[in-house]
């Protein structure tokens, strides 16, 4: 008796909550999230700031990132150049802002494409099972063990000589290497759902495999896909920075990693800010995405706790 009363009570609360206007619900959702996961909230704030800067870089950046002010080479921070200038007189702050753009394009691009590919592969493997699953799983076992960074360096090194679009190459390369890992996660989640009554019911109702996969199974694994993607984002950002640092980034585009590269090293002594700020940006972005991803994982899918990739 007491239990049903309690259940009624909570149901009523839930009812009242659902009736509140969207803005209030959103605000209280954010408030609850930040109280439960303060680090996650800090991470989310950092992520939002980076996304904002990246999107509005052409508007809020004080200068064009490629503009060279040759008279103001290697200056320290001033009112005109907030974080100083580099050896070609380019404004460091503006370059950092445009660098955020590249980081996020590569990060979201690679993770987005690989999530899509991984979802398709995982669905196909788990749903068709049998020999399809057997063969694809074996291929993926080998694929996962590929030496990521080395393959990427080689691939981008070859593409660089051809003059093709390096951003696209970087996104595709990173996506290719991540999709194997992610497809395994999707596959096991779909396998778990496959034998649930609702799938059986849909089959009994005459739904075909494609309809079942996309209308019934996919919506159920969406949170999982989002969580694994958010955990993979910081890795993609770090990979972009490392590759650009090694000289395999896009030319003519500002990149945090490239700003730290060995070619600029002789100028770091004169203007240590050149060595400092790009790294601060990389570390902050990676930290923000890491914290946000961890919190998201705990909230959306506690089963994944302790996995990273």
């Amino acid at each position: 008796m007491a239990r049903t009363q309690a259940a009624d009570h909570y149901a009523a609360i839930a009812q009242r909550r659902a009736e509140r206007p969207f803005i209030v619900r959103l605000a209280s959702g954010i408030w609850n999230f930040s109280r439960r996961k303060p680090l996650g909230a800090i991470g989310a704030a950092i992520v939002l700031i980076f996304v904002f800067v990246a999107v509005t870089a052409p508007v809020i950046a004080p200068f064009d990132d490629g503009a060279q002010h040759l008279r103001d080479k290697l200056q320290g921070p001033s009112a005109k150049y907030r974080l100083g200038t580099d050896n070609l007189g380019r404004d460091v702050l503006s370059r950092l802002m445009y660098g955020a753009q590249l980081s996020l394009i590569v990060g979201f691009g690679a993770v987005g494409i690989s999530s899509l590919a991984a979802t398709l592969m995982g669905l196909v493997m788990a749903y068709f099972g049998r020999w399809v699953d057997q063969i694809m799983s074996r291929v993926i076992d080998a694929w996962i063990a590929l030496p990521d960074l080395i393959i990427l360096i080689t691939f981008l090194g070859i593409v660089r000589r051809t003059g093709a679009n390096m951003i696209l190459a970087m996104v595709l390369g990173l996506a290719f290497l991540r999709s194997a890992t992610a497809s395994r996660v999707v596959r096991s989640a779909v396998l778990e759902l496959r034998n649930r009554p609702f799938v059986e019911a849909a089959e009994a109702a005459g739904a075909g495999p494609v309809r079942i996969m996309f209308r019934h199974v996919l919506p159920n694994i969406l949170p999982l896909i989002i969580v694994t993607a958010s955990v993979a984002l910081p890795n993609a950002i770090l990979a972009e920075a490392s590759l650009s640092f090694l000289g395999f980034g896009p030319e003519g585009t500002s990149s945090w990693g490239q700003m730290l590269s060995v070619e600029g090293r002789e100028f770091f002594r004169k203007q240590p800010g050149l060595a400092l700020w790009p790294g601060v940006c990389i570390a902050l972005a990676v930290f923000g995405f890491n914290m946000f991803g961890d919190a998201l994982r705990d909230v959306l899918d506690p089963r994944l706790r302790g996995t990273r990739r």
């Binding site: 080998a142 063990a145 590929l146 060995v262 790294g279």
Partner: protein, 321 residues
């Protein structure tokens, strides 16, 4: 058990084979779309681009005039015989070059692993002993920080500020251990320490949680109750047991460490495999690119394999499936 190891071995070989496929066909399919091929670049650089006979001869040497599958098989048989070919540009045998460079990269990776462990274990123990007091918080911040802060950036910061404040710079002329041990250690110590920093964060976290678990065990309470000194309880009873799972996890970071060596070789100008690969990519030096990728694949797959197998040996609960 035997079957499990054999299966892992087979997967390892398949992965290495996959790498050679990707690199071999990637090179020979993508490059010719834009250039003739590597030979034209090599000959072009030497200024003899009009010497058709020379180009044809060098092409025949590399089998570039034959169909791709034939080229691939002939490369594989050469590799199986231990012949990695010669650089297209300076004609030096790739194998000798790798013999000189591989120890540098391996040393970097292994000493890096060692430094990660040396940092992580005492830190993890201290954090657990001081749970929820400031040393614990400080070390937790360190654990989170080290996984966010890229190691190569720290290296750059150290070099930059050391040269500003103390006028110190890492030596750029390398010395092998058998030639000049002291100089060698001086050169390798900093990069090896820094490369271990990234994985150390995760290890601190694991060591801390292991210690917390062990410190709550009955036998630890017994040890305390019979009047043993706290240091004896911690060192002899707790750490010894807490460390076992950590040791199995340590190996997991080895493949990442090896893959990360090019970054540090680049910063500290070390003659390792990574710098060799990067230089060869600039010239599209087919034999060097293929061989370095093969060696890296063997290293990384091998590291994975050792970790998997040692797991199953140390922890019998892992099912061999």
């Amino acid at each position: 058990m035997g079957r499990y190891i054999i299966r892992r071995l087979v997967y390892g070989v398949i992965t290495i084979w996959l790498v050679t496929l990707i690199v071999f066909f990637g090179l020979r399919l993508i490059v010719p779309i834009f250039y003739g091929d590597a030979i034209e670049i090599a000959v072009g650089l030497s200024g003899a681009i009009d010497d058709k006979a020379l180009i044809e001869r060098r092409r025949a040497e590399l089998d570039l005039d034959k169909p791709l599958p034939v080229q691939y098989v002939s490369w594989l048989t050469d590799v199986a015989r231990g012949d990695l070919g010669r650089s297209l540009f300076n004609g030096r045998p790739v194998l000798t070059e790798i013999k000189n460079r591989l120890p540098v990269s391996l040393e970097l990776g292994l000493v890096g692993l060692l430094s990660a462990v040396i940092i992580a274990i005492p830190f993890g123990v201290v954090a657990a002993l001081a749970q929820d007091r400031w040393p614990d918080y400080a070390l937790r911040v360190y654990a989170v920080g080290s996984s966010s802060v890229p190691g190569f950036w720290l290296a750059i910061l150290i070099i930059t500020f050391a040269s500003i404040w103390w006028r110190w710079a890492p030596s750029i002329d390398f010395a092998y251990f058998h030639d000049d041990p002291i100089k060698h250690i001086k050169i390798m110590l900093l990069p090896a320490l820094l490369i271990g920093l990234t994985p150390s964060g995760g290890l601190v976290r694991i060591m801390r949680s292991q210690m917390l678990e062990v410190l709550r065990q009955d036998y630890v309470r017994t040890a305390r109750a019979k009047g043993l000194a706290e240091s004896v309880v911690v060192m002899r009873h707790a750490v010894r047991n807490g460390i076992i799972p950590v040791i199995t996890i340590i190996g997991l970071s080895l493949p990442g460490l090896i893959a990360g060596t090019p970054l540090f070789e680049r910063i500290f100008v070390l003659p390792g495999m990574g710098n060799y690969l990067i230089a060869s990519l600039g010239d599209l030096d087919y034999p060097v690119i293929q061989s370095t990728n093969l060696i890296f694949a063997i290293l990384i797959v091998g590291a994975n394999l050792i970790v998997d197998i040692s797991y199953s040996l140390i922890d019998p609960r892992i099912r061999y499936s």
